[in-house]
Point group: C2
Chain length 371, copies 2
């Protein structure tokens, strides 16, 4: 058994606040030195607490194990884990307690893996050690068909596939860090999401081959972190999309849903897309700066939108999943503003006020309600 710990509640936020008080545009290398201390404290305390219970535990920091990462400070990626000494210690009966979230560059600078990075540490280590299972203890007791705060009949799933988990994470279900799930999928690490507080079975996150029969839909999610932007009557010629989305990418703004309609006139087009709410102001500024290069009639934006998604690997073999979604929303009088689909997900953008109504209706429509 190997334990990976994250920081105590509130500690990372406090450290981030210290850094931001000096300068919100601080040096990411120093930021990493500061915030990595949170997991260092927990590693030492957890090792002590285990020793107190008679378990021969020992703490290990990122540089001691050597979690090798690239030098993308504050969002570094693990490139290798040295396991030799860990295997030795495990052989001696020791329980290593590893500070999550942190690594070290080739030049011996401390790095961190981004918020929730301790999940990634755990999965990377499970892969490197070829562990039977990686249990993620968190503040929820598993993955639910939807947000139980909105739908009282939400059910805890016994299993969910990596792909579904990724789609759910990408649309707001903050159970596991996306990169942790990607890594688990890549290396075939079986995950279990469990409660830190209640001793009840959690949800297994596994490969598709481990799930015998797939439900059509396994989850309804929503994300309020969306803002809609529409450019009216954009000149419809080659390179226009690149001319708009290129500068947004340069400004580090992630664009999510995109729809383009041919306008009745034929020579212009209406372009609608969504960005994170926090990026709305910057997005509008970037596009206004493009005024002299991109020709459009008007720029409109709306932060009062929500993205609602239905997710399930069963979609691949079942027709009519999307249709049921559109019908259900229409029956409730909810207008769909933008649609986007992937292989195992259908997402729609609707007015934010309808969030709860839409999620509840869809949860029932796909037969997910607990009996």
């Amino acid at each position: 058994m190997v334990v990976v710990v994250s920081a105590m509640a509130g500690v990372t936020n406090r450290l981030v606040r210290y850094a931001n008080e000096i300068n919100p545009l601080h040096d990411a290398r120093e930021y990493d030195v500061i915030v990595a201390s949170g997991e260092q404290i927990t590693a030492g305390l957890t090792a002590m607490a285990l020793q107190e219970l008679g378990v021969p535990a020992r703490s290990w920091l990122g540089w001691q194990i050597r979690f090798q990462t690239d030098d993308a400070h504050s969002k570094a990626r693990i490139s290798g884990v040295e396991t030799e000494r860990l295997f030795e210690r495990l052989g001696d009966g020791e329980v290593p307690v590893i500070a999550g979230f942190q690594g070290v560059t080739g030049a011996n600078r401390v790095t961190t893996l981004g918020r929730g990075g301790s999940d990634t540490t755990a999965v990377a280590l499970a892969a490197a050690l070829r562990a039977d299972r990686c249990d993620i203890y968190t503040d929820v007791d598993g993955v639910y068909t939807t947000d139980p705060r909105i739908v009282a009949k939400a059910r805890k799933l016994a299993t969910i596939t990596f792909e579904e988990m990724l789609e759910m994470a990408s649309v707001g279900a903050k159970v596991l860090q996306t990169r942790a799930v990607e890594l688990a999928m890549k290396y075939g690490v079986r995950l279990q999401v469990l409660s830190s507080f209640d001793d009840v079975p959690g949800t297994f996150v596994v490969g598709e081959e481990e799930v015998l029969e797939h439900e059509q839909v396994n989850g309804i999610t929503y994300s309020r972190d969306e803002a809609k932007i529409t450019l009216l009557r954009v000149a419809d010629r080659p390179g226009v999309a690149a001319g708009i989305f290129g500068p947004l990418a340069e400004a580090n703004i992630n664009v999510d849903m995109i729809v383009q309609n041919i306008s009745p006139q034929g020579d212009t087009t209406d372009l609608t897309f969504t960005v994170g709410k926090a990026d709305l102001e910057r997005t509008v500024a970037v596009i206004r700066d493009l005024r002299d290069r991109i020709d459009y009639a008007d720029l409109r934006y709306d932060p009062n939108v929500v993205k609602v998604s239905v997710i399930g690997v069963g979609m691949r073999s079942h027709a009519g999943i999307a249709l049921r979604m559109f019908r259900t929303l229409a029956e409730k009088g909810i207008n769909i503003q933008v649609i986007s689909t992937s292989e195992i997900k259908v997402s729609v953008l609707i007015e934010e006020a309808y969030t709860e109504l839409a999620v509840r209706a869809l949860h029932s429509a796909y037969g997910l309600d607990a009996v």
Copy 2:
């Protein structure tokens, strides 16, 4: 210029409390991992703050510099400092910001140097880099002839010798960590004690050869952290002192002043010594356990005592320093219970209630009052 930082106010105490809440007898190796994080945070924040001022700063932790220490966790001693990379960075115009108080063992475990250890880090580094000077910024603006809270006429000293500083620290003047002063003396590092808050000249701590003319006495100190123990009519035969002080040493109890009087009968002796107040109870228990091996008539103890000392390298060449002390105290009607002397210090144990009276009288008697 190289900067060494300690933890922010209160941080180390909080971390120590966490560790003690798990188990007061915690694993010192894990304790070190936990408390070393305090300086790590300050190093990152200070580097950021300097960058904000346009200074090209970079933080360095104990293991990054490599402050090599022994493995006496929580009170480790520095055995070497790798300076090669630091010199490189200094050559590039960088200002290294070093996390004080911490080092690393040969096995790559984190160590700490004991409370106030950042002073020691700074001095060790100044020695290794052959720095012109080591400035210690602290919460007082220098070394005073005595405690200004007791004697309004206390004067700040422009210079003091290492030896005097050591004696003053050993009797309660908590300006610098003793080991930092010892190290500075050993390697001839010129220290300056300065205020972190006020931009006024501090006190230089230097070798004796740098001081042209020595005052007879440079400081009056007192320590309330004393408790007196007297064993009445101990059998006076060889090995008795070892029989008492051996077990105390084994129990990790430091004995300070010791006096032994021949009793009138001649075959027994009265033995008086002092220990730290916090050790009084344990000391009494250890001695009571010795009852069947050491023959004594009675055991008495008194925590209401204070040790008052006069300190000055000038004592070496001036006679009558001790005599003036005894006379001054006698004039005020203060009874001396125990006396001990070193080459540059005379200490007496008196009743605690007389502390302020004694310190003020001695400060005047040795001509230390500010005019």
